[in-house]
Symmetry: C2
Subunit: 394 residues, 2 copies
Amino acid sequence: MLKVNENFSNLTKSYLFSNISQKVNEFKANNPDKKVISLGIGDVVLPLCAPVIKGLEEGVKDMSAIETFKGYGPEQGYAFLRDVLQGYYKEFSVELNTNEIFVSDGAKSDLGNILDIFSKDNVVLIPDPVYPAYVDTNVMDGRKIVFMDSNISNNFLALPDYSVKADIIYLCSPNNPTGAVYNREQLTKWVEYAKEMGAVILFDAAYEAFISDESIPHSIYEIPGAKDCAIEVCSLSKTAGFTGLRCGYTVIPMELKCGETSLNELWLRRQSTKFNGVPYIVQKAATGVFSKEGRAKTKEVIDSYKENAKVLGAVLKEMSIDYIGGENSPYIWLKCPNEMSSWDLFDMLLEKANIVGTPGVGFGKNGEGYFRLSCFALKENVIEAAERLKKLQF
Amino acid sequence: MLKVNENFSNLTKSYLFSNISQKVNEFKANNPDKKVISLGIGDVVLPLCAPVIKGLEEGVKDMSAIETFKGYGPEQGYAFLRDVLQGYYKEFSVELNTNEIFVSDGAKSDLGNILDIFSKDNVVLIPDPVYPAYVDTNVMDGRKIVFMDSNISNNFLALPDYSVKADIIYLCSPNNPTGAVYNREQLTKWVEYAKEMGAVILFDAAYEAFISDESIPHSIYEIPGAKDCAIEVCSLSKTAGFTGLRCGYTVIPMELKCGETSLNELWLRRQSTKFNGVPYIVQKAATGVFSKEGRAKTKEVIDSYKENAKVLGAVLKEMSIDYIGGENSPYIWLKCPNEMSSWDLFDMLLEKANIVGTPGVGFGKNGEGYFRLSCFALKENVIEAAERLKKLQF
């Protein structure tokens, strides 16, 4: 008799985004004349830039002719893209072998699937508030989860607590949802803790391209010693608007071992068995991101999103609403004024300003009383949202 | 202290394709003047057809403009593609709801990832010879595997043995590697067995488009009662040359339950948590496959591969070499002449005829003494290969 994975019954139903969309749809139905501005979901709005489109067009052309058609590619990605990624890491003074880089269809897949190579018996350390998938993917496997508090007392940057034992540690910097970023010293503390515990850090660097501050590490491997205790997962979703095109990469250094076992080898085996690689045309597009023109164009787009953050930050400051983020991140994490709850602020912003954001409590208990604004929006909408915010009375 | 998934240490190293490529590379280095013809790996060689390229081009254009740009799509696939797939199933008189269809990046991913929703305690029934990923993905999870013999006595179409208890059953028809196909009566027996066991059938229909015989089911759901005991996994890789473009689909009917638990709901949760959908442009391309012109063009391509099978089949017959497959499948499965071993025939074909095939033993113990020829090759190469075969003396 078939038995299902009983761990699924321990998942909490995720009502966050369905609740949001239900409330928004209801509001729109009742107020068809109102223009609702979404600063909610973290999805990009600007189109792919010219060098990426050129990569796609070249790829499509190759796929249409017998001489240049591509069938199965290498599961870990084409050499032409891995070479380019190797070069990108050199900019952060990180030296990688190309066989330490695995091209994937995005950070979400890799962050979920990487758990295949780990025992269910590991204890997992997860910050709160957090991207919900870190939690759910481990609940599905039945792993014990320990939460660490990110809150105002640590500027939403939890640091190691040696009284807590953990085997797998999630870090996301620049952080989703808070926009907080770890500096070199703080990351060094995490690397030291991981080594002391014999743990692995899963470092989610999906927002690294938003870092402006030159002293902030883009990669965990900028920290000495990180190569034998950290896996880095990155994505072009936010770097280059690939949320609908799907391409990311995961780095597992050869030094990273569990006893005698190479994690790189386990992941290669996992991917070769359960994955057939990213579409050739998408890898061609990804290569375009890292061309000279691609770098310039993607920076322009990121700068425009960060300009949005400045506009929103300025109005919040004017209104004396505390917030963090927005400087090295596309997210602004604000303290709800007057001790309002996250959902109360959500309702008020929707009704009074016709603005959609994300209630902080949706990311964990420490998110209660906070609120996330996403800067992935058109400039004119952000300016209009700022004007509307200014008129609010708390 | 981090612990890895110890089940990985129970994987047998897969030497099959690395051994093949090593032998081929060695031969080529020693015989630079010889033209080696590959009938080995099951990868397509003909380019994407015009309606698919058109879908890609439209998609790329959409992604380049702000008004039509697409970010995150639905994890289970765009409605426009699921509608088309629903229509395709109607041709086999199979009625599906669109929320029973999940668009994926290919059968390999889905066949591996679907195991997330099942307990590790299930007993898995797998035919031998077999696509090696069925075995490896279950070894990774530590599930008990029971093999069923496919051999000449059952025309390489194993049928249920009620003395064997199983919870998860793999069926692949048309079969890789043997090219054998189950008829309606045989599939009905499997559905009856699955119901008796309370088991689920994972039906791999990746080669369904190669079926010529009108009496052979394309979908397991053509069998009455299959909807509450079978998951179907399909792919455009072989249907439309998508091996490098990556698109497939998995069907989980609403009727399919394990106790009170809907498997469709579990899979939706798994995919929403660990997957971000297939690139929009690839889904546009996939839609092109099912247009009227797309159907005609992909049929032409499949017919040309099956023409190859006819050419090879004719010469094998002339040489009095027994084989099956090739009629409803791109694979020919031949009995090695004179009791040769699979690898001895491989060596002989490479050295004497400069033809690369796949030794049957690479697919399991019942494959020993057999050999797979893939018909995914250019017609002129197949004709030349046939000429060379004819001259061989066994």
